[in-house]
């Protein structure tokens, strides 16, 4: 079954790659002809050629202990992103666009090209527009631009709020969205975004132990008040989704589970699971003159429901927050700093509660119950198309790590205090 799934995935990826090549060729021709038309029509109003933008990033990650995002203890260059987008205004109100994206980050990405977003957008009024297609999720301040290194000072966004490991679930949805900005006279404006649809999950990125990963629904919204103080906005985001999957246990482990009484004697793979989740963020950003200050606080509530009681996890609420600031010293140099905090279980912030230990009666999960992250970033803009960044993190706790990158060791046994050094260069146009 596994090999069948893998061969199906390979075939799907190959056909997708061929489709992407054809699409790129078609777009190149379209751009050439549109540009030519725009030149011919340059004397008329409203010539709307295809706009093309893109970026290429290459990074390096090294940790003093624990593998983080990649095999980072020995230093890893598996940290690349490439994106190109095409946008065309068909009329003053109607626009189409798409972005192709490929990336590699440790075990994820592996340079599979995919549609990051594509849409058809009709802008009725400033206070009401409709967009259909695959659209980025407006979740918090920076979720939509989390792939875009050039759009921020830090290399890694605060990972408590924008974990790269959740990219495939939290970045974009396929469905519809309504949006707009409602003017509030002297009180500023209210920007709203409401969306609903599904997430087509690329099984190539699925956990090896899961198959048939589906998101039957995702919906939510973001409301931001753009205050009369220029550059100050505050608001909140809410998102609800459900993830369904088939959990596949390794054949060799099934007898052990059965002996321990965890699985029934007649157990057969897979175990269907459902993970309902509700995510909420409160956001504040002040961006004026040379200063940027941002802070967000979030709670994510989720559970794991399954027909096998021992594979059911009751509702857990994680807690996440960060405070970030950056200062544009001049046109080419911007330092930034943030503090980010993550508790996977807000009911056990210290990791000392035996009720949440890995095994009943154990002393708790200890350092795996939290992750404090202090980051210092330096951004150098060599010119308007090319930048370099250096970033250092001091980490306390192991909650943001994954066992699979760390020899499947429990997170509570990994090094509690560790550091990360990141280097990255990005070209964009």
């Amino acid at each position: 079954m596994g090999s069948h799934l893998r061969s199906t995935d390979c075939a799907k990826r190959a056909s997708f790659a061929w489709f992407a090549v054809r699409l790129a060729a078609w777009l190149s021709i379209s751009i050439w002809t549109s540009t030519a038309l725009a030149d011919d029509d340059s004397s008329t109003q409203g010539a709307l050629p295809v706009e093309v933008h893109g970026f290429v990033s290459q990074g390096f990650i090294k940790t003093t202990a624990n593998n983080y995002l990649a095999k980072s203890k020995s230093g890893s260059f598996e940290f690349s992103e490439v994106g190109i987008n095409f946008t065309k205004g068909l009329t003053d109100r109607l626009r189409v666009g798409l972005q192709l994206f490929t990336h590699d980050l440790g075990p994820t990405g592996n340079y599979r090209t995919r549609f990051d977003w594509f849409y058809l957008d009709y802008h009725f009024f400033d206070w009401f527009g409709v967009r259909v297609g695959r659209t980025k999720l407006p979740f918090g301040l920076y979720n939509e631009s989390s792939d875009v290194d050039a759009a921020r000072v830090s290399i890694l966004l605060p990972q408590s709020m924008y974990p790269v490991s959740n990219r495939d679930f939290l970045l974009a949805q396929t469905g519809g969205e309504v949006y707009g900005i409602v003017p509030l006279a002297d009180a500023g404006g209210l920007e709203y975004r409401l969306y609903g649809g599904t997430v087509f999950y690329d099984t190539a990125d699925a956990m090896q132990a899961a198959a048939n990963v589906k998101v039957p629904y995702i919906f939510g919204g973001r409301l931001m008040w753009q205050t009369p103080l220029e550059g100050l906005q505050l608001g909140g985001s809410l998102q609800k989704l459900r993830l369904d999957a088939d959990l596949i246990l390794p054949d060799a482990q099934i007898p052990n589970y059965q002996k321990a009484g965890v699985l029934p004697a007649d157990f057969k793979n897979p175990i269907p699971i459902r993970i309902p989740a509700l995510l909420a963020i409160a956001s504040l950003e002040y961006s004026a003159h040379q200063l940027l200050v941002a802070a967000e606080y979030s709670r994510w509530r989720s559970a794991l429901n399954s027909a096998v009681p021992s594979f059911t996890i009751p509702t857990v609420e994680s807690e996440r927050l960060y405070l970030m600031t950056a200062y544009h010293v001049n046109s080419w140099f911007t330092p930034g700093v943030y503090y980010s905090l993550y508790f996977p279980n807000a009911s056990d912030r210290s990791g000392h509660d035996p009720a949440f230990g890995a095994v009943p009666g154990s002393p708790g999960i200890g350092r795996a119950a939290y992750q404090h992250d202090v980051a210092l970033s330096l951004r150098y803009d060599l010119n308007q198309y090319w930048l370099l960044k250096v970033e250092g993190h001091f980490m306390h706790g192991t909650a943001g790590l994954t066992p699979t990158l760390n020899d499947n060791l429990p997170l509570s046994s990994l090094r509690q205090d560790w550091g990360v050094l990141l280097l990255k260069t990005t070209a964009s146009f």
């Binding site: 631009s145 900005i181 004026a288 803009d381």
Partner: protein
């Protein structure tokens, strides 16, 4: 009574008094330079906001300009599409306009647009190379909104006051 010259008196003054005198001298010099700069700035504005000659607007609020250049507002009062146009990111007039009207550094505005471009939300205004190019764009597009340096040749482009 000392018969030393003023400069000699200063040379022999205690360190604190010398520092004070130096600070006063620097302050006066800077004040003179600042006054001259201000006088020049009064005679030639740092930037002028221009629109198409058929545009009925005679003045625009700073808030409107912020919303138009960040594309939060996309229509003039008569329904015409607003077509804001920027100057190059490294130009002095862009820097002055950005900091005094948008109240953001050019880098912050670029970052704002990078977020919008690559999340598929919106595209930035076109960036043109010179005042002449901006004037040409404004004359070509009825809904255009641009800014040029104080010494730019405006041809028929209409200057609007910023409130």
């Amino acid at each position: 009574m000392s018969r030393r010259s003023p400069s000699a008196r200063l040379r022999h003054a205690p360190l604190g008094r010398r520092t004070l005198a130096l600070a006063l001298a620097l302050g006066c010099s800077w004040g003179l330079v600042f006054a001259r700069g201000t006088a020049r700035a009064e005679s030639t504005p740092a930037y002028r906001v221009i629109v198409h000659p058929d545009n009925p607007s005679t003045s625009l609020t700073r808030d409107f300009l912020v919303d138009a250049f960040l594309k939060r507002t996309t229509r003039w009062g008569d329904g015409e599409t607003i077509r804001p146009v920027d100057q190059r990111a490294d130009s002095a007039v862009r820097r002055r306009f950005s900091e005094s009207v948008l109240q953001r550094s050019v880098a912050a505005v670029k970052s704002y647009w990078q977020q919008r471009i690559f999340s598929g939300r919106e595209l930035p205004p076109p960036e043109l190379d010179s005042d002449d190019a901006v004037v040409g764009y404004v004359l070509k597009h009825r809904g255009a909104l641009g800014y040029v340096s104080g010494s730019a040749k405006l041809e028929r482009a209409k200057v609007v006051q910023v409130q």
